[in-house]
């Protein structure tokens, strides 16, 4: 079966700096893929390339079989590619409900319908009690959930989650994992996440891709990947790996 998202030979250079080099992977319908790697490995750049905020220097991105290299971010979103940002940015002047409604309008022109869809999503993420409060009143964990809710409102087939657990305390991480587990209930068949929090990676992912210095150094199930010497070296340094 053709993968939902397919990335081939993705390369991005900024000026003289090569941020991403020859990265290829795919996401199947129904699977959860995690992209991990040390800081500066190019993970967010890959997401920016996939979602359309940068254009690749080389390489091809296919979504649902269509090459989307030339599409603007909003066009990719309308085709079912949702995304959250590492630095969460709720619309500060809008209420929590209104924030999600903006996302819902991707699938409807009616205010009443958007409101209904948004309330449903808020209930899903557990924020419905605060629907009319301003988004700026939320804590970080709340904002992360709002960010996910807003992207979910666009009814994506695949959602790109950029460090969605970063900055959360252990309880909040547990809650986030619980939320992410249920994404399939909303019709989001696939998830690709950039993650630092290993707990999320290990418990949720079907497969893991490891980046270092912009290149892929490993790919496989979570259990396989954590034992690769190259991966250990990337995170902990060469000495440790050679002793392992």
């Amino acid at each position: 079966m053709a993968p939902l998202l397919e990335v081939r030979n993705l390369t991005k250079t900024f000026g003289g700096l090569c941020a991403v080099r020859n990265v290829s992977f795919s996401v199947q319908k129904g699977e959860v893929l995690s992209i991990i790697g040390p800081n500066g490995a190019g993970k967010t750049t890959v997401f920016n390339l996939i979602s359309g905020f940068h254009s690749p220097t080389e390489g091809e991105i296919r979504f649902k079989g269509e090459v989307i290299n030339r599409l603007k971010p909003y066009q990719r979103a309308l085709r079912g590619l949702g995304r959250t940002f590492q630095i969460v940015k709720p619309f500060p002047g809008l209420s929590i409900l209104e924030n999600v409604m903006v996302g819902a309008f991707a699938r409807t022109n009616s205010v009443a319908q958007a409101r209904e869809d948004a309330m449903r999503i808020l209930a899903f993420v557990g924020l419905e009690g605060r629907a009319h409060l301003l988004a700026s009143t939320l804590t970080l964990a709340g904002r992360k959930r709002l960010e996910v809710a807003r992207a979910l409102a666009t009814k994506p087939d695949l959602i790109l989650l950029d460090e969605v657990s970063a900055g959360l305390n252990p309880t909040e991480v547990e809650e986030m994992i619980g939320l992410l587990r249920r994404l399939a209930d909303l019709g989001v068949s696939s998830v690709a996440g950039v993650e630092h929090v290993m707990q999320v990676v290990m418990t949720l992912s079907d497969r893991v891709v490891v980046l270092n210095h912009g290149e892929m150094i490993a790919e496989g199930t979570p259990q396989e990947v954590v034992n690769y010497p190259a991966v250990v070296a990337a995170y902990l340094g060469g000495e440790v790996a050679s002793r392992a």
Binding site: G93, M101, E128, T154
Partner: protein, 327 residues
């Protein structure tokens, strides 16, 4: 539905506004109210782009001037019926705004603002230099739209324009367009990522804004019966359009109306003391607004009400008890 109840006060207000000339005959006061309506229309036009979409344009005089000059030129050089001239001005505002948008919307942050200023200035200079068409600094006499001594017809014309402008704003705020423009204002990048064609919507806002400004410009030209580049294409016009909306409340439906009323009355008040000091006062009020009341009069009020209502709803646990979701 509560939507019907919601529309009654504004409709009532519109009726009251329209009926004023039936009772008020004093030409001085009619003139003042006409000015209030002119700046309500202009402020509302600007508000769609500058308030809701958050694009701080300081070059809207381009559209105001386009409307004025289209009427003046077609009426005097081509002998057209002035109503046709007004219509043409509104039509031409579309390609002009799309052109300006195609350039300025590519500029980020402060450069967008400076870009709009630059383009408006170029238009003013062109109008000054293109004497064969515009008579340059000498200006053009504009024929009367209505015969007779009474200002009432002029009042009604501009009242309709202002009501339409405010009405369009009212509609935008309550429909998808309004939500999208607000999202663009708050965070354009995020807006793109959730499926909003930001370029398309910004251009849409600009086109609507431009057409309204052009209509008002044509009216103003006829009302003044004389125009020249420094009256209708000058920077103070652009600035006042923005100031009216900012002081009254950017991103609110009635903000520009409130701002227009405040500013016109303030300038009338001080006219006795200093002749041309209204711009000085506007400058001071603008600074005061930015420093102390950035949401403007209505904007600040609305934000406080919204927060209070939301807190109350959260306390009582009801989510559907809150009636109007104002952006």
């Amino acid at each position: 539905m509560s939507r019907v109840r919601e529309i009654v006060p504004p409709l009532l207000l519109a009726v009251i506004v329209l009926s004023v000339p039936l009772f008020l005959k004093n030409p001085y006061w009619l003139n003042v109210l006409i000015l209030v309506l002119v700046w309500t229309a202009l402020g509302s036009a600007w508000n769609i782009v500058g308030g809701y979409a958050g694009q701080l344009s300081l070059g809207h005089s381009a559209f105001f001037g386009l409307g004025a000059y289209t009427l003046a030129i077609t009426a005097t050089h081509l002998g057209w019926n002035p109503w046709l001239g007004i219509a043409l001005g509104m039509v031409l505002a579309v390609p002009l705004s799309l052109f300006i948008g195609s350039i300025t919307f590519r500029l980020r942050g402060p450069y967008f603002v400076l870009g709009t200023l630059a383009i408006a200035e170029v238009l003013r200079l062109v109008a000054l230099a293109w004497r064969s068409v515009t008579n340059g600094a000498v200006g053009i006499m504009v024929p009367f739209l209505f015969q007779g001594v009474s200002r009432a017809p002029y009042y009604w014309f501009i009242a309709v324009v202002a009501i339409v402008a405010v009405g369009i704003t009212w509609w935008i705020e309550r429909h998808k367009v309004g939500y999208y423009l607000t999202a663009i204002r708050e965070d354009q990048e995020t807006a793109e990522s959730i499926g909003i064609n930001t370029t398309g919507y910004k251009n849409l806002a600009l086109v609507i804004s431009a057409v309204l400004a052009a209509a008002t410009g044509a009216f103003y030209a006829s009302y003044l019966s004389y125009i020249e580049p420094d009256i209708v294409l000058s920077e103070p016009v652009s600035l006042q359009m923005a100031i009216v909306a900012i002081i009254g409340g950017r991103g609110t439906v009635f903000g520009p109306a409130v701002g227009a009323t405040l500013l016109v009355f303030a300038s009338e008040l001080f006219r006795a003391q200093f002749k041309q000091a209204h711009l000085l006062i506007y400058g001071l009020l603008l600074m005061a607004a930015i420093l102390f009341l950035p949401g403007g009069v209505l904007g600040t009020l609305q934000q406080r009400l919204k927060a209070r209502r939301a807190a109350r709803a959260a306390l009582t646990g009801s989510t559907f008890g809150v009636r109007k979701e104002a952006s």
